[in-house]
């Protein structure tokens, strides 16, 4: 896995995606300007094969289900250990 870039909000993430075309994105939900949920929907519309792991402190089921329905491939609740993050990422890239 190679790290290619980081964005501070959903709008920046869309711009970076246009330039970098990553295969995997980790996405927070609570962000200024454009939140993660809206950004996930845009990214999946633009690139249906993209894998998005939503990482959020919002620990309720409604939020997780909403993220998956918008097109996220997985949901990881903060706080998490390195091992939990690695496992979640491996699951996504492993198919």
């Amino acid at each position: 896995m190679e790290f290619v870039g980081a964005a501070r909000n959903g709008r920046e993430a869309l711009e970076l995606h246009e330039k970098l075309r990553p295969t995997l994105v980790t996405m927070d939900l609570t962000m200024p300007e454009m939140d993660g949920g809206e950004c996930v929907a845009h990214l999946v519309k633009r690139d249906p094969s993209i894998k998005i792991l939503v990482i959020s402190a919002l620990a309720d089921k409604v939020t997780a289900i909403d993220a998956i329905e918008k097109g996220a491939s997985g949901f990881l609740c903060k706080p998490f250990t390195d091992r939990q993050l690695n496992e979640a990422l491996r699951k996504l890239v492993g198919g």
């Binding site: 919002l58 620990a59 939020t63 250990t81």
Partner: protein
């Protein structure tokens, strides 16, 4: 007035946060009501506005040394002011966001705002009874302040 079980949501959140991120146990002292309208803030303070079914504010305030050691425990090498601000905002965000598991999805949280410096102009929101949760980790003292209607 918040019930004991509501405050326990945040206390448990603090304990879980430290156990998971820095893999060391923190201790929470007895939660108590704040006195006055201005909190005694430490070096860095992350604040989250709460809206929706409940309104108010949650903030986490901690000394620079504590946040720096936390970053080290997370294998971070960047101890810059920006990274300390990010961490204190992230802690406030995580502790507030995790509370949605118990308060429900209409417990809306804002993006974090961060202030730097002791004596920063922070005020408790009106019509709330702020409750302070003292936090001890290693030799450091931090506080989580929960102000809900």
């Amino acid at each position: 007035m918040k019930t004991e079980s509501e405050i326990n949501v945040f206390v448990n959140g603090v304990l879980h946060y430290f156990n998971t991120t820095v893999q060391q146990t923190a201790e929470c002292g007895t939660p108590h009501l704040a006195i006055g309208r201005y909190p005694d803030v430490s070096d860095y303070t992350g604040m989250i506005k709460i809206s929706g079914k409940r309104t108010g504010m949650v903030f986490f305030t901690a000394p620079k040394g504590m946040l720096s050691v936390m970053l080290m425990r997370m294998q971070e090498t960047d101890m810059s002011h920006d990274n300390l601000c990010d961490l204190v905002g992230e802690i406030a965000n995580t502790l507030s966001g995790n509370a949605r598991r118990d308060f429900g999805h209409q417990f809306n949280i804002s993006v974090p705002s961060v202030v730097h410096g002791r004596g920063s102009p922070v005020e408790y929101p009106e019509k709330t009874r702020p409750i302070i949760v003292p936090i001890e980790w290693r030799t450091y003292h931090a506080r989580l302040v929960v102000c809900l209607d």
